[in-house]
Amino acid sequence: MRTGIFFCQAENNRNLNIDSIAKYSANLPEVETVQILKSPPPPEANFIAGQITSNSLDRIVIAGDTPGHFKPVFTKAMALAGGNTDEVLLASFQEHGARGENALDRAKAVVACATMGVPFPLVAFTGGNPVNHSTLIIGGGIAGIQCALEIANAGKQVFLVEQTGTIGGHMAMFDKTFPTLDCAACILTPKMVSVGQHEMIRLLTRSKLVSVTGKPGSYRVKIRQNPRYVDIKSCVACNQCVEVCPVKVESEFDAGISLRKAIYIPFPQAVPNAYLVDDKSCTYILSAGKKCGVCVKRCPKECIDLHETAHDIDLEVGNIVLATGYELLDVSKIEQYGYGVYPDVLTSIEFERLTNASGTTGGKIVTKSKRINKKTNKEEWFFSPEGVPPRSVALIHCVGSRNKNYNAYCSRVCCMYSLKFAHLIKEKIPNVTVYEFYIDMRAFGKGYEEFAERIKQEGTFIVRGHSASVTMNNGQLLVKGEDIFNDRLVEFEVDMVILAVGLIPSPGTEELSRILGVQRDNDGWFSELDYNGSPTDTEKGGIYVAGMCQAPKDIPDTVAQASAVAAGVLSSLTSGKGIGHLSSIPLSEIEARARKIHAI
C-alpha cells in the first residue's frame, strides 16, 4: 500500500513537535510522501487529489489533534482521484491520549499504527504490574454505587469513599426519572441498602482522598475520614437529638429550600442510616465545648461524641474509580434571570426537591410564602405546604449551557428533565399553564423523542426561542422571549420560573486531578483515554472514570458506564496480565507490535 501522511494540526498550541513526528513517520513502511499542511486555511480537495495522483497513493493518513475535522475533504479528494475512500485513515493525537510527558512518543505511535492500518487500541495494551485485588471508588452517587455493587458481587473487595454523610448522591434527590417516570428512589434505595449491607464493600462516609503513592496495580492511598460525631453502630435513628437541637441551617439534601438541624440525617433512607453532626453549624463544636451540648445529654444510646476527631485510613488498592459527579452552575451570576432576587425563580434541583413527595411540602408544588424572621425582623420567603399553587410556570432551557459566556457545552439532561417537570406540574396542578422556552429539543435517547411528543400532547406551550429575561412587575413575574415559530415576541405572566441550569464538575474535581495526576479537559471534566475506544479509562493505568465526572450524561448512561468500569476493573483482576500506565509503553514496543500485525 502506497501511503501518504498529511499532518493537519489546526491549532498547534500544545508544543507538539510536528516536524519530529513527520521525520519519524517518513521511515515507516510503504510511506511515499509526508506533508505538513498549514491550517487554517483548511486543505483543498483538488490539491490533495493532485498529490494522490502524482504519488499514486492507495492510502491516506490524516494526522493531527482533530483529524476527523478534515476527513470530508480528504475523502472527497480520494474520490476525485478515483481511490478507495475507505483507505482514508485518521491518526488522532488527542483521542489516543498524546498528552503530558510522553506526548511526542505517543503521537508517533499513533501515526505508526494508522500508517500500517492497525487499530491503535489493539497494540497499545499495557501490562506488567501485579494487581492488588481491592478497589477504591471515589464518590457514592449512582455511578459509584453501581460500580461498587458490580465489583463486590464478583467477590472482590471495594472501598467506597463518600464525602457527605450518606451515599446516594444527586439521584437520591430526584423525584422521577425520565422518560419512564419511574420513581428515582425506588431504583436507587435498594441499591444503597445493598451497598450498606454488602460484606465486600467497606463504606467510608465523610471521607476524602488525601494522597496517593505507588504504581498501577498497587496504589497506596491515604483517606481522611472526618468525624461524624455519632457512632454508626449504636445509633438507632430515634430522632430525639434532632428534637432538642436548637440550630437551624439550610438542608443540602433539600437543595436549600428547607431547614435542618445541626444534628441530622440527610434523608430517612440514608445509608449508613445514622445521624451526623454538621461541625460548621453545631454550637457546641463552634464554641469549643462551652455552649449547648443538649443532644449528648438527650441521646438514650449515648452514641454522640462531640469530641471525635478526624483520622486517616491507609489502604492498598489495585484500581481506583473516579465517580465524583457534578454540581450546578452558580446561576445567580446569570443576572438576567433574577435568581436569588425574585423568590419564585428556582433552579432545577430545587424544583426537584419541591416536587418530591419526601420534600418539604410533601410533594405539593407551591409558590413561596412570606414570613417575618423574628430574629432579624426581616421578610423571608419559604416553601410551606399551605402555599398557593402556581397558575402558570415557565421552564427555561439552556441556562448557562451552550453559552460561550458560561458553559460552551450542552449539559445533555436539561431538555429531558424540563419536559419531565412540565409533566409533573400538569399532573399535580389542574388548569396550570406551562411554558417551555427551548433552543433545540435534544431528545436523543431511547423513548426520549416519544416522551417529548407526549409532553406536547399534554398541552404544554412549547416556545421555540430562548427567554433572555425574567422581570417582576407589581409582584408578577414576567418572562420575555421570542416565539420564533409563531413569529412574535411574547411576554408571559407566570408565578414560577424554573431554570434548567447547566452542569459543571463537582468542586473537588480539580484537587483530585492534581492528587491522582489525571488530566482534565478544557471544561474541567476528567479526560478519558479515548472517547470512542476506551471511554472509561484514563491515561493513568488502573484509574477509571464513571458517570458525570467524565462529562454530563443521564442516569442510564451513567449506570452503563459504571458497569463498564466494573468490567474493566474485574478484567484487570482476573486476566493475570497486570496493569501499567498506558503512556508508559515504549514507542518501539508499540511499533514492533504494529509491524507484527501489519506483516500478517
Binding site: R402, S469, E482
Partner: protein, 385 residues
C-alpha cells in the same frame, strides 16, 4: 413572487463587517433584550436568519436595520458571540450601498484604499482649484472684503453648487429607499393618507432621536451618554450646514463678530468638537461594546469630521486675530476636507442622517398599514389539546 437565494450573501456582508453571523443558532435572546423590537419589527434575530439564508432580496426591503441604534445589549447577551449588534450595523452599511444607484458606496465600504484614495484625490483637486482661483482673482493676504483671496460670494456659489450635487444624489437614493421598502417591500399598496398622517415622524425623530434615548436608558454607567453627545453632534452639524449654505457671507465677514450669526456657529462648534472627540475616544478605548469593532469607514467618517472642525475653528481664530495669510491657508485646508466630505455623504455612513428619520417615518407608516390590514399578529401559540 419567488425570492432568489444568494448563498454568497453572507460572504458579501463579511466585507461590510458582519463576520460572525454564521455562529448564530437562533435562540432569540437578542430580540428579547432589544429595547426596540416589537410585534411588527422583530430583530436582530430575524435579520440574522435572513442573512444566514441568503435572502438578499428580502433584506433589501427591510427597515429593521435602521430601527437599531446599536446599544450593544444583544451582543453582550449573545450566547454564541455572533455579535448581532455589529451585524445590524453592517446591514446598515450594506443598505446604504444598496440604496445608492451609482455603486460608489459599495466600493467605499468594501475597500478602504479606494475610499481614502478618492477622498485624497477630491481634496487635492479642490485645493488646486481653490489656489488657482484665489491667486488669479484675489490677494493672498486679504481674507474677506475687497480683493479677498477667496471671496465670500464665490464661496457661497461654490457651496451651493456642491450642495445641489449632494441633494440630487440624496434625493435619488432616498427615492430608491422608498421604492425598495415601501413599494417592493410591502405586501399590499399603502394608502396615501397614512403618509400624510405620519409625516410628523420625520422632524420628530430627526431633532429628538428619541429612540436612541430609549436605548441609552438601559445603561447604568454614569458617563454613558452617546445619545446626548450624538444629538449635540447632529444638531451642531445641521446648524453648521445651514450656516454654510445660507449665511456663509455673514459668517466670513469680519473681523468683528456678528453675534446674530456667529453665536450659532459657536454653539455648533461646541457640539461638533465634543461629539467628534467623544466618539474618537470611545472607538480608541473600546469601552462599550458598540465601539469594540470599528469598520474602516467609521474611522474615515469621524477623523474627517474632526479635521473639518479643527480647520474651521482655526481659520476663524486666525481671521479674528488678524493673521489673514494663516486664515487663508487653513481655509483652503478646511475646504479640502469639506468638499470630499460633502460629496462622499450619499455614499457613506453620513447618509444615515437622512435615512434614519426616513426609515422611522416609513416604519411607522408600514406598521399602521399592517395593523389596519388586520394582519393576524397576536396569534396564540398552537395548543394541541
Amino acid at each position: 413572487m419567488a425570492i432568489r437565494v444568494n448563498p454568497g450573501f453572507i460572504d458579501v456582508l463579511d466585507r461590510y463587517g458582519a463576520e460572525d453571523v454564521q455562529l448564530c443558532y437562533q435562540c432569540g435572546d437578542c430580540s428579547t433584550v432589544c429595547p426596540h423590537a416589537d410585534d411588527v419589527y422583530k430583530f436582530p434575530r430575524k435579520s440574522m436568519r435572513l442573512l444566514q439564508m441568503g435572502l438578499e432580496q428580502k433584506i433589501e426591503t427591510t427597515l429593521e436595520p435602521w430601527l437599531c441604534y446599536y446599544c450593544g445589549q444583544c451582543s453582550e447577551q449573545c450566547p454564541r458571540e455572533a455579535d448581532p449588534g455589529e451585524t445590524m450595523m453592517s446591514l446598515r452599511r450594506w443598505l446604504i450601498s444598496r440604496y445608492d444607484f451609482t455603486g460608489i458606496a459599495s466600493r467605499f465600504f468594501r475597500s478602504r484604499t479606494t475610499e481614502v484614495t478618492a477622498i485624497i484625490a477630491v481634496a487635492i483637486l479642490t485645493g488646486a482649484f481653490l489656489i488657482y482661483y484665489g491667486f488669479s482673482r484675489g490677494n493672498f493676504s486679504i481674507y474677506d472684503g475687497e480683493g479677498a483671496f477667496l471671496s465670500s460670494s464665490f464661496i457661497h456659489k461654490f457651496d451651493l453648487t456642491i450642495g445641489s450635487v449632494l441633494l440630487i444624489f440624496l434625493v435619488i437614493n432616498a427615492l430608491n429607499m422608498w421604492y425598495l421598502t415601501m413599494v417592493k417591500g410591502s405586501p399590499f399598496p399603502i394608502p396615501w393618507w397614512i403618509y400624510l398622517k405620519q409625516i410628523y415622524q420625520v422632524p420628530w425623530h430627526f431633532f429628538t432621536q428619541k429612540r436612541y434615548y430609549e436605548c441609552e436608558k438601559k445603561q447604568e454607567h454614569p458617563f454613558y451618554m452617546p445619545w446626548f453627545i450624538h444629538l449635540g453632534l447632529m444638531l451642531g452639524y445641521v446648524t453648521m450646514l445651514i450656516l454654510v449654505m445660507v449665511f456663509v457671507e455673514k459668517l466670513q465677514a469680519g473681523p468683528e463678530i456678528v453675534w446674530s450669526v456667529h453665536i450659532f456657529g459657536y454653539l455648533a462648534t461646541i457640539g461638533l468638537t465634543a461629539g467628534t472627540i467623544y466618539f474618537i475616544r470611545s472607538r480608541l478605548r473600546k469601552n462599550y461594546i458598540q465601539y469594540k469593532k470599528s469598520h474602516g469607514t467609521d474611522w474615515v467618517f469621524i477623523i474627517l469630521l474632526f479635521l473639518i472642525v479643527i480647520t474651521g475653528t482655526g481659520q476663524h481664530i486666525f481671521h479674528r486675530t488678524g493673521l489673514n495669510e494663516w486664515a487663508n491657508v487653513t481655509y483652503i485646508a478646511h475646504l479640502m476636507c469639506v468638499v470630499p466630505w460633502l460629496l462622499r455623504m450619499p455614499f457613506s455612513k453620513w447618509a444615515h442622517l437622512i435615512y434614519r428619520p426616513l426609515a422611522m417615518y416609513f416604519a411607522a407608516i408600514r406598521k399602521e398599514a399592517i395593523l389596519r390590514k388586520d394582519v393576524q399578529l397576536r396569534s396564540n401559540p398552537v395548543l394541541v389539546k
